[in-house]
Symmetry: C2
Subunit: 360 residues, 2 copies
Amino acid sequence: MAGKETSDKFKKLGLKVIDDIEKRQNPNIDIPIRALSNIIFDKKTGQLGLGNKSSKRYFFNVAHSKKFMQTLMVAAYSKGLIDEQIHTSIRDMYYALKRTLPDTNENTVDEQSETDPLIVDIEVALDIIREQMHLTTDRKGIVAGNVIIKDRGDSIDWSKLGSGGWSIPSTVEEIDFKKVEADYVVVVEKNAGFERLHEDKFWQKQNCVIIGTGGQASRGTRLLIQRLNQEHKLPVYVLTDADSYGWYIYSVIKSGSMSLAHISERIATPEAKFIGLTISDIYDYDLKKCIIKAKEVDIKRAKELLKYDWFKNNKKWCKEINLMVEKGVKAEIEALSNRGIRFITDEYLPEKIKKKDFLD
Amino acid sequence: MAGKETSDKFKKLGLKVIDDIEKRQNPNIDIPIRALSNIIFDKKTGQLGLGNKSSKRYFFNVAHSKKFMQTLMVAAYSKGLIDEQIHTSIRDMYYALKRTLPDTNENTVDEQSETDPLIVDIEVALDIIREQMHLTTDRKGIVAGNVIIKDRGDSIDWSKLGSGGWSIPSTVEEIDFKKVEADYVVVVEKNAGFERLHEDKFWQKQNCVIIGTGGQASRGTRLLIQRLNQEHKLPVYVLTDADSYGWYIYSVIKSGSMSLAHISERIATPEAKFIGLTISDIYDYDLKKCIIKAKEVDIKRAKELLKYDWFKNNKKWCKEINLMVEKGVKAEIEALSNRGIRFITDEYLPEKIKKKDFLD
């Protein structure tokens, strides 16, 4: 059965609690700490991760008791989803768990803000990811290219989807890659950029895969990028606006985010490279007419990026970010259209890839 | 050539301006007025539309001159897109048109906010829609079901896309329907709802098409809904949260929006029906535990809805909206999960459809 390993982890958790009870010990669950004090950046893997501090959640502890119950409810519900082979959203789960305890006015849960952190607690405690708990996250992202996958019994050819593309579901753990003939993956921050590449059949001419994230990449999209990179050895090139927000989108794909530090290695792609836009591009490609004045918040964010380990230890990145701060400018992917609609697909991307003009 | 008709309209516009010049008249373009004063609700068609007030934009008029030039630039650019058979986003077009006039410090355009309204001016002046101008809008929306389409030479079977679905492009004008065997279309406001219906293969069991809009439906999605309804006579049932925002999503699919009143008949689906959630559902389906207290802004918005012609002239809608205002409550689609994960696909939707329990 798919998911048996995860289901067994839940079973083990349950048996452990029963064992505590039988031994007349205070039933408890051991949960790694996710505060900043326990988040570390691993230079070797290039990823954010958790240290080894943890704390215990007890049943017989007035401050823990309700949370202890809720944690077991979430675990039991999730195990049920796996065993029944169905998925649901975290919001649906919250509603499903909501009930009034018999003979009281007390609800099991009152707000989704109570169950959400418990999901993460379980992720770190059992070393699994939400997708394995059969909990879906919001889907976003589109893909097209020379790849055939098998998913829920269907064979899907990403090169035969017309002007549409395959809508990336929230869980891509279970898809099988049947044929991957592409040479690399281009990830574009914007849907408009995806449409441009798609209409020009960039993936066909260049034999690659194109992915549109529509802003910050969803978990499903990040996992798909990782799988294409790790299982099929495809280089990944990320294209975003030349601003702090775009660069952070790249950073999250590559190294993970603070809030999901505990699962970086499960969904990040440390080998991803940044193809553009850089501030230097504005001058190298004569886009000065399309400069946008950076706002105060952009500059502030850029200065924050300079403190991130993976930016501050990289000379090229420091140069680009400092350039933005000094000149107070930014630019968008669409600025390339000033040089002609097909400039991005005919010249900008092929040239950068040929010259290996990337930032790490 | 696809788009020849639109291209010809642009040509005619150009010839008219040349004619003005040759006759030594002040070159001008006639543009219908889009202000509230000229927006009317057509009770017969159930759609918002424009009245017949218009105004002229002159070349020799200091207040009009720049706008006149920009209007012709947008028209010329768009004609070029059609003739070359390529598409681009409105942001790309803005950048493409941006240049400094020779021997001046004056730019053709400085901000996108200058070109965006001109697109709409041209839409109303030439009675075309943005999609026909080959300008794309942000894509959003997913579809699955018993339909096969042909698009850009590919044959795409919406029933064979695994857990993904077909990502609806921003322009669906050019897709051909090859096989439409579905009995109706269910449109779901939320991606999580789409995933639930999709995983349960609701479209297969019920022989229908399911569409997820991911919030307010994009233009491409609205056009697709209209085409399925008008060309293939499929009834359309819209499922949203029981709150003013969800109901407005329905209203826009059905009757168009104020800001796009001039193209309502091109993308709205007056025959669409509302399947839920209603405030009555909360009580009829025993979802009281999942009630959310409505905020002041929800109530305010609900009261505004009561002023819309298509709500205020409908008894059932008045009852529901007033119920919300009186009780100060709302509820989400996910609340149905309180009755079991598959309650929505096994009971709620089939029962409503069987009983024809809709709001118009």
